[in-house]
């Protein structure tokens, strides 16, 4: 139980601290990766990011909703073997319902206030990722997995 609380806390702190994640999408067997500015819901069951509708990642998600996000806090030094956290988030991407958009917008612009203009653009969409599994690696090879409750 306490291990669960610990991993939840570590994940919450990492997601709160880091502004960017690597998003992986897949289309017709070809992987594609991007850096995206993300935010997480309070219960950690969902994350969101913003993108243009004309981008490759948005097109890929339209075809295949399975995505992964990668968040880490490496400093690009040898000390990372000991201290770096590396989190993989597996989930399903989709557009939030009209009821959820306002709440997501609040969460997202609280973390990234400078992206409000990007969000306001008619060519932009907030995409939410429903998390299936968190996989957290630390101390080089130590890996824990956690499913948010619900």
């Amino acid at each position: 139980m306490s291990a669960t609380r610990d991993i939840e806390t570590i994940i919450r702190q990492l997601l709160g601290r880091q502004k960017f994640a690597v998003l992986a999408t897949l289309r017709e067997g070809v992987l594609f990766q991007n850096l995206v500015a993300f935010a997480a819901a309070e219960d950690l069951r969902k994350l969101c990011f913003a993108t243009g509708v004309y981008t490759r990642k948005y097109g890929n998600i339209s075809q295949n909703a399975q995505v992964a996000l990668f968040v880490d806090d490496r400093r690009n030094s040898e000390g990372d073997f000991e201290h770096c956290l590396a989190l993989t988030v597996r989930g399903t991407a989709g557009l939030p319902s009209s009821k959820e958009i306002a709440a997501w917008r609040r969460i997202y612009t609280t973390k990234h206030p400078y992206l409000d203009g990007f969000l306001d653009s008619p060519g932009s969409r907030l995409v939410e990722v429903s998390v299936q599994l968190y996989s957290l690696a630390d101390s080089f090879q130590h890996v824990l997995e956690w499913q948010p409750p619900g």
Binding site: Y54, Q63, H112, Y114, P122, G123
Partner: protein, 720 residues
């Protein structure tokens, strides 16, 4: 135990040299001068910590970083740097101070100044060091009273850390969003009777000092609005030479709005400084140089015969360069009004008359020698007007920028370029031409014989009187439709007219709501200032219109050169080299400046997928690209294509009724491509580096005119 909180204010009396990273160069210099017993105004320094706290709480570093990420500064034209700076500075205008910071600053300002007037000046951290002067990079605000107004002025000074001039020197300044910081000094305002600047060493002659003086406030001198009197003082002998009084017509004075230029009734003649005062200023320069060990550039003012030092900084090469030439954009509204009258009442009518005069010449009446002389004369005329265009017509665009600055400061709109909606004109020469083209297309639609002639590419032989009349008017008025450099080149217009006739063309956007916007703008001024506000709007509208029309007028003149050139080449055909008249003609033709033709597109090695420029016309569209390298290619433009070009000028915008969007290499919000895109409501992105090299005709593009993004799609992509 928590670390003591870094102070957001420091009184001048408590500032020591060690405070430089917190207070900035100007504040430290003033503190040192005060300690040395020189008279300086009472000063409170708002430290760099206040700026940092403001930025930390506001998300501004992210906004600035996003703006700077659009394009490397070295790839930007001056206009693009201006636009970027405007967006950044406007973010400061829209971002309030956090409550606790505002409370701390308000308490300190009220305690120190109460309701007394102050001057608010920058004290950037690298400013006024021995290496960098950065004189004039940042803004100052004079005669500000009331804590709320002072805090607004402080924000404007902070924002000027990101002025277009500062961005141009970004590397030298080490200007990074996360690390940027600035101190600000708030000084008791001194309404001096005579003020000026003085250089402890003449940048042009090390043996001399220079003293300059203007009536009223020295901001008039620093901004280049008031011409100074100037004295040269020999550093060793103290010998003074007076290099003449300026023709003084106005002075910058304090008024109810802060400061303003006032006409002079007295003080128009005779030197502003007598020998005693010159000696006092010379002693002041010497004292400052002793203190700082290097020659100084000081600003001073005389009030009730007290010589008050406003600031002192080392002379640098930068300061000398800046003194040499004030940027033309700093022209005041009054100067721009004079320029506008000159352009509207003299230059453009003269250009029109010149084009008409040349149009009346019948080549059949000129023998080869006379034709040769005509070619040379028209080439000379074109060169002359091109010079006028650069020197006198382009600067008129500053009328629009000046209005934008005033509008944004008064109304604080969310979009810093929304002021452009007030400027959309009733008519432009290029739009008149487009309407004429639309009428011709309508004739093709309704008259099958005309349509058949156009399909055969034989417009020149058409006998329909109405078509002939309108077509002839089009060629005469439309500027330089690029069809005159080959026999019967007018027929090249046939595909364009057919395309226009084949369906409905883009229509100009209605100007609904413009009147309400004008009323809102005027209502933002006190009653006594509305007349001046309306005059500024009128100036900006004229600048906006005339800056588009002048291109058409210039092109009409160029067309007359191309016509005589075509006639010359026609006559040369079949002539031998031994023919002496032909040799004269050939020599004349060789001297004719060639029309601009872009280099053939060569794709860079790396394929571009997504390009970022400036969002210059709102809208989102996905369509095929048509890359235009030379004007003639415009005639094969097809409905629904996205126009991609290097630099769109009003002589090319006749295809805009057919276009789905515009992408341009040249960047800016006030360029012709952006103006025409707003007129027709088309998505437009400008400032795409190497646009015509990175995009090929036929490529499928998405133009996001909201964000300034162009995406080049793979044809295999389904979405879009």
């Amino acid at each position: 135990m928590a670390a003591p909180r870094v102070s957001v204010v420091l009184p001048l009396e408590k500032i020591t040299p060690a405070d430089r990273p917190l207070a900035g160069g100007k504040a430290c210099s003033l503190a040192r001068l005060a300690v040395a017993g020189l008279e300086v105004p009472g000063t409170l320094c708002i430290t760099a910590e206040a700026y940092r706290r403001y930025l930390r709480s506001s998300g501004l570093p992210g906004r600035i970083a996003l703006e700077l990420a659009r394009k490397p500064l070295e790839q930007m034209r001056w206009e693009e740097v201006y636009d970027s700076s405007l967006r950044i500075r406007h973010s400061f205008t829209l971002t309030p101070l956090s409550g606790d910071l505002a409370d701390e600053l308000s308490a300190a300002l009220t305690a120190r100044f109460g309701e007394r007037s102050v001057a608010v000046r920058s004290s950037a951290l690298a400013e006024d060091s021995a290496l960098h002067s950065f004189a004039g990079l940042h803004e100052s605000y004079l005669n500000v009273s009331g804590t709320a107004a002072i805090l607004e002025a402080v924000k404007k000074v902070w924002a000027s850390l990101w002025s277009e001039s500062a961005l141009l020197y970004r590397r030298e300044l080490g200007l990074e969003p996360e690390q940027s910081a600035m101190g600000v000094i708030v000084q008791a305002f001194v309404p001096g009777e005579v003020s000026g600047v003085a250089f402890g060493r003449n940048p042009l002659n090390e043996a001399e000092m220079v003293i300059e003086a203007v009536p009223g406030l020295n901001q008039g001198l620093v901004d280049g609005q008031v011409e100074p009197d100037r004295w040269i003082v020999h550093r060793d002998s103290g010998e003074v030479s007076f290099s003449g009084a300026a023709d003084r017509r106005q002075a910058l004075r304090a008024d109810e709005r802060g400061v303003g230029l006032r006409s002079l009734t007295s003080e128009r003649r005779g030197p502003l400084l007598n020998a005693v005062r010159l000696v006092r200023i010379t002693r002041l320069l010497e004292r400052c140089e002793e203190l700082f060990t290097v020659p100084q550039d000081v600003e001073w003012t005389l009030a009730d015969d007290r010589l008050i030092l406003l600031q002192s900084r080392p002379i640098t090469a930068r300061a000398a360069r800046e003194g040499a030439a004030s940027p033309a954009w700093q022209q005041s509204s009054a100067d721009l009004q004079i320029l506008r009258q000159h352009v509207e009442n003299e230059l453009l009518p003269a250009m029109a008359a010149q084009a008409e005069h040349m149009d009346a010449v019948d080549f059949a009446l000129l023998d080869d020698k006379a034709l040769s002389a005509e070619i040379a004369e028209r080439a000379r005329i074109l060169e002359h007007w091109r010079g006028v265009y650069s020197e006198e017509l382009i600067p008129l665009a500053h009328g629009v920028r000046l209005f934008g600055k005033v509008y944004n400061q008064r109304l604080k709109p969310a979009d810093p370029f929304s002021f452009l909606d007030l400027l959309r004109p009733g008519e432009l020469e290029s739009l008149k031409r487009n309407r004429l083209l639309e009428k011709l297309a309508e004739l093709l639609r309704s008259r099958p014989a005309l349509r058949a002639a156009a399909e055969r590419g034989e417009l020149t032989g058409v006998s329909d009187p109405l078509f002939k009349k309108l077509f002839s008017r089009l060629l005469r008025q439309a500027g330089n439709l690029p069809v005159t450099d080959e026999p019967a080149g007018e027929n090249l217009l046939a595909p364009l007219l057919l395309e226009l006739a084949s369906g409905s063309a883009n229509r100009r956007k209605a100007r609904r709501g413009q009147q309400a916007q004008v009323e809102e703008y005027l209502a933002a001024f006190p009653t006594g200032e509305r007349e001046a506000a309306a005059a500024l709007l009128d100036l900006a509208r004229a600048s906006y219109r005339l800056r588009d029309d002048d291109n058409i007028h210039l092109a009409r003149i160029e067309r007359q050169l191309r016509l005589v050139e075509t006639e010359g080449r026609r006559r040369l055909g079949g002539r031998t080299k031994s023919d002496s008249v032909a040799a004269i003609l050939r020599r004349s033709l060789e001297k004719v400046p060639a029309p601009t033709v872009r280099e053939q597109a060569e794709m860079p090695a790396a394929h571009s997928r997504q390009l970022v420029g400036q969002p210059a016309g709102r809208g989102l569209v996905t369509a095929r690209a048509r890359v235009i390298l030379e004007p003639k290619e415009l005639f094969s433009f097809r409905r629904g294509e996205i126009l991609v070009c290097d630099a769109l000028d009003p002589n090319m915008t006749f295809v805009i009724p057919l276009a789905a969007g515009i992408v341009e290499r040249r960047g800016g919000m006030l360029i012709h491509g952006a103006i025409i895109a707003r007129e027709y409501g088309l998505p437009c992105v400008t400032g795409i580096h190497e646009a015509t090299r990175r995009i090929t005709s036929g490529a499928r593009l998405t133009v996001d005119g909201y964000l300034g993004i162009v995406v080049i799609h793979d044809d295999s992509e389904i979405h879009g």
